[in-house]
């Protein structure tokens, strides 16, 4: 049976690479001088980041009034961006942890960058709850620490506090997960680097990794544990984020469907962002052999199914409102679809539900420019989903006297742009200083057929 396995399961790494080739290929971008394309992208990202920093500085120095919020709409861009980035942050852990638990070997091609993406996205996300506070310099009051106020602690009944714990836990665990995954690769870098700053840093950071089988055994155990922890964590985080809204009393927020709806949405948007980055990285960093069309095909399928779940959630929301017999609830949904922010609602529906349906067509899944456009639109649509949930629910709530509208200010838009700047700056730097693909893992996965043979051999012997 010479050709059968490849037909069933296309190889994860094409191009007939040896182990050494894998190391070299993946480390190559770090050894090369950055390309003009990289420099261009970095310049753009850094500019965006600096714009964002300036905007945030101005906002903190002057007041939240520099945002377009008002007495009725107390959250808009800030929390939209927060949920958007948290959502994006979810695919990384999902791909890393969930697919790891499900033994999806194809994840190895993307898990490293997906984890890094998670980290950077959660960083971007974390900034927003911080700067959206009226007095961000007192953010530490959210932490339950002993203080001169005596028995005054924090309110564990507040979903916002749950958020603080969820996001910080998520960031911490994701960072650890990513870092632990990076340990063997850092050792690889250490061992192949000439003496110099890179060798020094990597040998400091790799914690003295030496590839011992005993360490590998414990490492694999801990990695599995972390994956096992990260999986419920990733669900809990977006569940908690959704509870910011679901536990509120505002019609359009007060919905029990939110936790699964938000988790599906988060995965959806996260996959879209991973795909965006993968398609770019594949082209820019010459990793075609590692990020194959198969990977993209699978990601597309997963993303489309998530899109359908999200679509179902949109429909369910309307049905629930209709069935509730609650006039306030019904109004909010009618108002979403037909009110002043209908444009945002329909942007959301088209980008998230209608357009991804194109991915049913296999040919389109294999046409990267098309996939790229679709994932960008999904990103846009998912941003609007959060905007719609937050702003359209708030702007017309119970008392018509307080109905108001919302328009972002330049400061808000600049802050949003800045968050992209931060994200891409971090990501570009990451591409330069760390292996974008988990070397040790892909080595383990790439030679799958051979090892199966050995295992068979062993089993035969045992028998």
């Amino acid at each position: 049976m010479p050709d059968l396995p490849p037909l069933l399961r296309p190889p994860l790494v094409t191009g007939n690479k040896t182990l050494g080739d894998v190391t070299r290929d993946i480390c190559a971008p770090m050894d090369r001088r950055p390309t003009a394309l990289w420099w261009g992208a970095f310049a753009v990202s850094l500019t965006a980041l600096l714009i964002g920093i300036a905007a945030v500085w101005y906002q903190i120095a002057t007041g939240i009034g520099t945002w377009g919020l008002n007495k009725t709409v107390g959250w808009a861009f800030d929390i939209t961006n927060f949920v958007f980035w948290v959502g994006i942050g979810h695919a990384g852990t999902l791909i890393s942890a969930v697919l790891f638990l499900f033994r999806q070997k194809w994840r190895t091609a993307v898990n490293r960058s997906a984890e890094a993406m998670t980290l950077f996205a959660v960083m971007c996300a974390g900034i927003f709850p911080l700067i959206h506070m009226g007095r961000p310099w007192l953010a530490f009051w959210m932490a339950p620490y002993p203080n001169t106020r005596g028995p005054l602690w924090v309110n564990f009944k507040s979903p916002l506090l749950w958020d603080v714990f969820a996001i910080s836990t998520y960031l911490a665990i994701s960072a650890v997960f990513w870092y632990i995954g990076l340990l063997p690769d850092l050792a690889t870098i250490r061992d192949r680097s000439e003496p110099g700053w890179r060798k020094r840093i990597s040998s400091f950071l790799c914690l003295g990794w030496n590839g011992s089988a005993r360490t590998w055994l414990r490492y694999e155990t801990v990695y599995l544990l972390l994956a096992g922890l990260a999986t419920p964590l990733v669900f809990s985080v977006h569940t908690i984020v959704s509870m910011d809204f679901a536990t509120a009393v505002i019609p359009g927020w007060h919905t029990t469907i939110f936790p699964p709806y938000f988790v599906a949405g988060a995965i959806f948007s996260g996959l879209a962002m991973v795909l965006t980055l993968m398609i770019i990285a594949r082209a820019v960093m010459q990793l075609k052999d590692y990020i194959t069309l198969t990977h993209i095909d699978r990601m597309c399928k997963l993303m489309m199914s998530m899109g359908c779940i999200v679509g179902l959630a949109y429909g369910t929301e309307f049905f629930t409102a209709f069935y509730s017999g609650n006039g306030y609830e019904q109004f909010v949904f009618k108002n979403r679809a037909l009110g002043p922010f209908a444009w945002a609602y329909w942007t959301m529906v088209s980008c998230n539900v209608l357009i991804p349906q194109l991915l049913w067509v296999r040919k389109l899944r294999a046409t990267l420019p098309v996939v790229f456009v679709i994932v960008i639109l999904v990103n846009v649509g998912m941003w609007f989903e959060r905007f719609v949930i937050i702003v359209t629910s708030l702007h017309r709530d119970f008392l018509p006297s307080s109905w108001a509208s919302y328009t972002p200010t330049a400061i808000e838009i600049a802050t949003f742009v800045g968050s992209f700047g931060l994200f891409f700056t971090c990501f570009l730097v990451f591409c330069r200083i760390a292996p974008v693909i988990a070397i040790a893992e892909i080595k383990g996965a790439a030679h799958l057929p051979k090892r199966q043979a050995v295992e068979h051999h062993e089993e035969e012997q045992a028998a």
Partner: protein, 179 residues
């Protein structure tokens, strides 16, 4: 105390696996193996017991969850009971999310710190490198020489059968660290 060890280098994991299994069958004591990636089956071949780090994880998680539940209850209902939105002093359901997060946080950090402690990994550690290519594309097996059953020639031949690239003798540092 320093020991003499035999260091065999392989190019493929299958060779390493087979050699390990064979050497161990012969009653040799295997000091360690070094691989660029987690070679599945190696632990069985080397006869290593499953890691007990899972228990660390479990207890840390329990400590996080229970500790946080207690803390939440204490702050909200005992230290200074404040009427928040008419909710009962002790509203357990709202304590669940943070307790869960605390459990995950402690479990995660606990297991990782335990891993680092058990494997003696720490920042800036300069381990002896047995072969710089062990993190690239080489597989290394280290066999103790002190054993009574040890016969250098037999083992060298045996290892050559498993396509060992090289077999050499080395001396360990006091404390058992390889040099």
């Amino acid at each position: 105390m320093s020991d003499r060890v035999l260091v065999a280098t392989f190019e493929h994991e299958d060779d390493l696996l087979a050699a390990t299994a064979a050497v161990r069958r012969d009653g040799q004591r295997i000091v360690d193996a070094f691989t660029p990636y987690a070679v599945h089956g190696l632990e069985r071949a080397m006869g290593l017991r499953p890691s007990r780090l899972t228990w660390v994880c479990f207890f840390c998680g329990m400590a996080g969850a229970l500790g946080m539940l207690w803390f939440e209850h204490w702050t909200a209902a005992i230290d200074w009971p404040l009427d928040v939105g008419g909710k009962p002093w002790n509203s357990m359901p709202s304590d669940v999310p943070v307790a869960f997060e605390a459990a995950v946080l402690l479990a995660g950090f606990g297991s990782v710190l335990a891993l680092l402690a058990v494997s003696r990994l720490f920042p800036g550690k300069q381990p002896p490198i047995i072969d710089p290519r062990v993190t690239d594309d080489r597989f290394v097996l280290v066999i103790a020489q002190s054993d009574a059953a040890f016969d250098l020639n037999v083992i060298t031949t045996q290892l050559a059968d498993f396509r060992a690239l090289s077999v050499e003798e080395r001396v360990t540092l006091p404390g058992g660290e390889l040099q």
